[in-house]
Structures are given as C-alpha cells and as structure tokens.
C-alpha cells in the first residue's frame, strides 16, 4: 500500500499519458488507414502501388524501429521536432508527438489491411448498384462500400486498438513518460518487484479488457445482416 501512496499520482499521470497516446494514435491511424484503403482499391495504378508498398514496408518493420526513426531521423537529423523549440516543455512535447506520429503511421497499415478485408465482404452487387445510380468511384466508396466495410470489421479494429494500447509502451524508448517508463523507474527505486508488476498488469488489463468487450458488443450490434 505504501507504494500506491507514494506513486499514486505518478501512476495516474503515466496511465493518462498512455491513454492519450492510444486515443490520438487511434484517430490518426483510422484516418490514414482509411485513406490507404481507398488508395488500394482505387482504379489508379500509381495510388494502388504506393499504398500497397507503404503498407508492406511499414507493417514488416518493428515498431521500436519506427519510433527510433522518428526520434533519430526526423528530430535529431532533420530537425523536425513537432514542437515549439522555445517552449519550456518542447522536448517532452516533441517526443510525445513523434510517438503519436509513429504509432499512427504503423497502426494505419493494420487498419488498412482489416478495412480492405472488409471491403471484400461487401457484395459486388452493392457497388454495381451504386454505379448504375450514377455514383462515381469516390461516391460509391463513401456512401455505399466503406460504411458496410467498417461495420464488418469492427471486431478486428477492436483487436487493433487493443494491440495499439499495448504498443504505446514502446514510446518509453524515446522517453515519453508513459506506463512502461514509470514501471522501470519504480522497479529501480522500490524492491517490490511483484507488486509493481501486478500494478501495471492490472492497470493494462483495466484498459484492454473493457475495450475488447465493448468492441465485441459493437460488432454484434452493427453487424450487416445478409
């Protein structure tokens, strides 16, 4: 209990950062993933090639490497820091934003894979009907195909969100003050390894298990009946 009293505030702060990283990266990856999917199913050869190439490259790169790329490559070598260099918290801000950027870029590839599978579940008659009504490719995608595709892949998107929640721990590699970084610190400063491990285990279970349950419920609720 001493540990909880001593580290309570820091624990809360660390898990809030974890949550922020998760939510922001989830939004970013959903957006980019949808764009990538649209590109991958588009009639334009160049867009298809670019998007497929991007997905295959990034998906097969370890996340740690993507994050380090952002930190060493973008921030240190190219000087893109994503934060106002004059502000007193610029280093923290910058590593946080770089982490969100890396997670979004990485997770978008998985979102795109899931969504493309979702597009495949939409019967061809749907987009044929859309075309016969005079809708163009983008309109058909936006109003007819993607809404049905999204509803078919709610459960996989939930798995991706859970994976993302767990992956945010990788941000500790560039010093973002999220849960894993605090865990390392607590292990060094206290001798209660088992309790520390338990705290973080339970902390993450509180984040991931409800997510899984919620997405399971949503996927049933919004399932496309065919």
């Amino acid at each position: 209990m001493d540990i909880l009293n001593q580290y309570g505030d820091q624990l809360l702060a660390a898990f809030v950062i974890t949550l922020e990283l998760t939510v922001l990266s989830a939004l970013g990856s959903l957006l980019l993933g949808t764009v990538l999917t649209a590109m991958r199913v588009s009639p334009v050869w160049a867009l298809r090639t670019v998007a497929t190439g991007y997905v295959n490259l990034v998906r097969n790169t370890p996340l740690t490497l993507v994050v380090l790329f952002a930190s060493f490559g973008l921030a240190q070598q190219l000087g893109i820091t994503l934060a106002d260099p004059k502000s007193p918290t610029s280093i923290t801000d910058s590593s946080f934003r770089l982490a969100v950027l890396s997670f979004s870029l990485y997770t978008a590839t998985f979102v795109s894979e899931a969504l493309r599978a979702g597009v495949n579940t939409v019967p061809p008659g749907q987009s044929e009907a859309a075309r016969s009504l005079g809708l163009g490719f983008m309109q058909g995608l936006r109003y007819i195909v993607l809404p049905q595709a999204f509803r078919a892949v709610i459960a996989p998107l939930g798995s991706i969100l859970i994976a993302l929640t767990k992956n945010t721990t990788v941000a500790s590699v560039i010093g973002v003050a999220e849960a894993a970084l605090l865990m390392k610190e607590m292990i060094e400063n206290t001798s209660a390894l088992i309790i520390v491990g338990l705290i973080f285990g339970v902390g993450f279970m509180c984040l991931t298990i409800p997510t899984g349950a919620a997405f399971g419920y949503l996927s049933k609720k919004f399932e496309v009946k065919r």
């Binding site: 160049a46 497929t52 070598q77």
Partner: protein
C-alpha cells in the same frame, strides 16, 4: 485491370476515354507529389551530410557486419526461433486446455490466456528481466535473452492458444461425433482426430505469428538484448551515421519478414488448392471471400 488490385472485386468499371485520362492525370500527380517529397527528404538529408559516401561505405566493410549487424540479426532470429517453439507448445497446451471437459482446467487456461493477451509484451519483458535478476534464475549474461524469450513465448503462446481453439472449433462437428461414436475418449478424440486437422489448417496463422514474434524481439532493445535494432543503433553511434544504419537495419528486417509472409501465403494457397479439404478452418478474424 492488372496489378496488385486485381483481387478487388469490381468497385469500378473498365474506364472509358475520360476515365482513362483522369486515371493518368491522378497517376501523374501522385508521381509528381512523391518525387517532390522524395526530393525534399533527399536534399534535407544531403544538407545534414547523411548522404555522403563515407556514411554508407562502412556497410561494405566486414567489420560493420561482423561486429554489429550480423550478431544483431543472429540475436533476433535466435530469440524468435526459441520463442516460437515454446509458444507453439504452450499454445497447444492452453488451447486444448480451454476445450477441456473439466471446468477448472478450462477456466484456469482461459484466465492465463486472457491475462497474457491483455498485458503489453514490453511490461512482461521488463518484469521477467528483473525477476530473473533478483532470483538469479539465469547467469547474468543470459538474463536479457531469457527475458525476451520468456516474454515472447508467453504472449505468443496465448495468441496461438486462441488460434488452436478457433482451429479446433472450425472443424466440422461430424469429425468429433464420429470419433466418439467409434469409442474414442475426449482426450483421444482431440489428439488423434481434431488436433492433426486443426494444426495443418493453422499453419499459415502460425507462420504469420512468427513474423510478429520476430518484430517483437526488437522490444528487447529496452532490456539491453543484443538484437538487430540495438545493433543498428550501436553501429550508427560508432560510425555517426544513424540514418544509414537505421535504413539498413529496417531493410534487413523487412526482407526477413516479407520472406516469412510469403511463406505463410504459400502454405495458405497450398492448403486451399490441396486435395478436397476435409476441414477448411482458415483461421482468420475477418472472413475474406476470395475471388
């Protein structure tokens, strides 16, 4: 319509003259945009002196490979290989355990699987590392590799347990019923009838899981395990060429993983096109009707 998009069922008609012109225009724009972005990155890198030959030449020397990159790649492959073998064993035990007739076995296996699926691998690795260090379970030189392998085996084992369970459940019910009708017990039915069918069907999913394990060894970076990413960074700091070092490391990892993904697809296609399938439980979260 050729190219990578051909598996997509027709979301668009064969373009007419205007459509063709539009597609070409968008393609050209896209190529221009990419070239512009590429040129910007290139010139920014050149300005920082990352593109001069000295930064890249070390990759042609044996020292670079023997001291830095190859030990890293070996570490990555070694940890992933050990971990996946342990994970498959653990996964089969847990997966079968979840289908046990005894409620207590079923529920405890379920709890273990859910626990290791819920917590981040990095947290698990940090914990194992410290645990092994405190209780001196492994010699200090082997601590990192032990922690990486344990973490990977536990978390991948939990995933494989789910794959196994889904695989067994996807086998037509008649198989199990026939086995019982022949007088086989629950254990015999699983071992002699259901598992052999499930495992062949699971092969693609398991190879795909190997890619995940291989990528996740990079988490060992944070507990000082000698793997590809750590060695890439070390090389970068030794030759002060971070960007080239990271690029080369990324290319190596991507090549290995793409190879493995190919292998998974190959197994999948062989299973699909093989002789009339007894059970076709393709273990996938999304059902993808192939054309």
């Amino acid at each position: 319509m050729s190219g990578p998009g051909t598996t997509m069922r027709n979301l668009y008609d064969v373009p007419g003259p205007r459509g063709k012109a539009l597609n070409i225009a968008v393609s050209v724009l896209c190529v221009f945009g990419l070239t512009g972005a590429g040129w910007w990155v290139w010139s920014a890198l050149a300005e920082k002196g990352q593109l001069v030959a000295e930064k890249w030449e070390p990759f042609l020397t044996p020292e670079m490979w023997l001291t830095y990159l190859l030990p890293g790649i070996a570490g990555t492959l070694q940890a992933a290989a050990f971990a996946i073998v342990l994970a498959i064993i653990l996964g089969i035990l847990l997966g079968v355990g979840r289908l046990s007739e005894k409620r207590i076995v079923r529920h405890s296996c379920g709890a273990v699987v859910e626990f290791f699926r819920a917590i981040p691998l990095l947290i698990l690795m940090i914990f194992c590392f410290q645990l092994f260090a405190d209780y001196e379970l492994f010699p200090s030189t082997e601590l990192a590799v032990a922690a990486v392998v344990t973490g990977l085996a536990l978390s991948n084992g939990a995933v494989i347990a789910e794959i196994v369970r889904a695989g067994i459940k996807a086998i037509p019910r008649g198989q199990g019923e026939a086995a019982i009708a022949l007088g086989l017990g629950h254990g015999q039915t699983l071992r002699m009838v259901l598992l052999p069918q499930a495992i062949t069907a699971m092969l693609p999913a398991i190879v795909a899981q190997l890619v995940v394990a291989l990528k996740d060894t990079a988490l060992g970076y944070q507990i000082t395990y000698v793997e590809a990413v750590r060695q890439g960074i070390q090389a970068g700091s030794a030759y002060s060429n971070y960007i080239p070092a990271l690029v080369v490391t990324a290319l190596v990892m991507i090549a290995i993983n793409l190879g493995l993904s190919r292998l998974a697809t190959y197994f999948e296609n062989r299973l699909r096109s093989g002789r009339k399938p007894v059970a076709m439980p393709v273990v996938e979260k999304v059902l993808v009707p192939e054309t």
